[in-house]
Symmetry: C2
Subunit: 260 residues, 2 copies
């Protein structure tokens, strides 16, 4: 996952497992598509296929919400859309503030998926005075100096951080101080927040690195198909282990350090 909650021992809130909560939006999307096609009911098998999950898992997930299905028939699409929306809290309006209007921040401000489900971009905030007043996605950018007031005035409880990594923690602190209790962090930084504040992070670089790991593994397996008991990555230049303290003897060159 490009994500993962930070800290917090996976508080199974109100009996609904965290893993299930993470899948509810997936179901909701599939159900919405069915709803638009005026499909009245759907079986767990069909819906699971549409959402890309196991049907048993889906049934168990729904069982945490209640018994919303009809045996022998399936689930009522409209009803389920409503129930999941309500469970996720999408029946109410969530004003969101985006801090850091660079390329990514601007892209998010323009992103239609935000507005689609109860989320409303209420404010854009940037530290660059030159940007103040400039409209992005039809919303004028405001200066960081007014962050506290902006959050309060708009009743923002969800903040999105798209600043450079160096500014992320400071922005986070100010958001929290202003009353924000949920943060979506795009900056490659580990944020520390007080209890009661949720942080989710989206890290593009990490996702790519995970893909690279598996990609390398695939390539290695192919290469070792000729028939060697040798490890796939054994042909890498063997780096000399840098002896930590007691530099005993002339062990020569240090390991070739990668570009940071």
């Amino acid at each position: 996952m490009a994500t993962g909650r930070t800290h917090r021992p996976a508080t199974r809130s109100r009996g609904i497992p965290e893993a299930t909560v993470a899948r509810l939006p997936l179901y909701l999307r599939a159900l919405t598509a069915l709803s638009e096609r005026s499909v009245p009911t759907v079986s767990s098998e069909e819906l699971a296929a549409a959402a890309g999950v196991n049907s048993a898992k889906l049934r168990k997930d729904f069982s945490y919400l209640g018994s919303y299905g009809t045996r022998g028939v399936g689930y009522d699409v409209e009803y389920l859309v409503y129930q999941i929306s309500r469970e996720l809290g999408l029946t109410q309006d969530w004003p969101v503030a985006i801090v850091g209007i660079g390329n990514l921040g601007a892209a998010l401000a323009n992103y239609g998926g935000f507005a689609s489900r109860g989320f409303r971009v209420a404010a854009l905030i940037d530290a660059d005075p030159a940007m103040a007043g400039t409209p992005v996605a039809g919303i004028p950018v405001q200066h960081t100096d007014d962050l506290d007031r902006i959050i309060s005035d708009n009743g923002v409880s969800i903040g999105v951080i798209t600043t450079p990594p160096g500014a992320a923690q400071q922005v986070c602190d100010r958001l929290v101080a202003a009353g924000v209790t949920s943060i979506l962090n795009f900056a490659p930084t580990v944020l520390s927040v007080p209890d009661g504040v949720d942080v989710r992070k989206v890290d593009l670089s990490i996702e790519l690195q995970i893909l690279a790991f598996h990609e390398q593994r695939k390539a290695g397996e192919e290469a070792s198909a000729d028939g060697g008991a040798s490890d796939a990555e054994a042909e890498q230049a063997p780096p000399v282990r840098a002896t930590p303290t007691t530099r005993k003897g002339p062990d020569g060159d240090m390991p070739a350090v990668m570009p940071a």
Copy 2:
């Protein structure tokens, strides 16, 4: 997590658990920062704090890679940076192609975090003929018609999809056909791919919905602090259950369906 691998039964590759692989980039980032400050060694406790994880977890993670630490001292920073980089496959060059150069695609093309660790944006591809030739982030956009050739010529094995949802599956199929075996999907679509192809998805909307769930829960707990045995979300308008098949009688209004 903004992510989660799609399908594939969590193949514990070469003995390294999937969960550990997902954390290695985190450690690498923290280590790189230490390296830049010329810190020679670091204890599991310190590094764990910097990466935002438990120190026992970190030690266990590293134990899957080998015994790279020195008891009583800690880990050699440079050496560990090299080992993790190698394990993740970052010692080689990964040409990446981005398909769909809208706001998000352009933001990714400009994103510095990509280039920083062995990833190189080798090609930008878009379906709009008007964009062909226009440079984005210094790289000219190429047309979808040439997708196959572009992938082959550049030896791209990792593709990034930032198209509208409707085009995602088709683009995915073409990427796979052209030889891509790892895909990072930003489109809100469930992609189906043949075996041997990895898909990771980043879904901004899902992340926000998960935050909203917890946010709602926090608000509900506060509200029920006055002293009610009633459920926090009981005050919602009780929707009339749409009777699935046997539409018995005029049960009137359907549940207020949410905006899709």
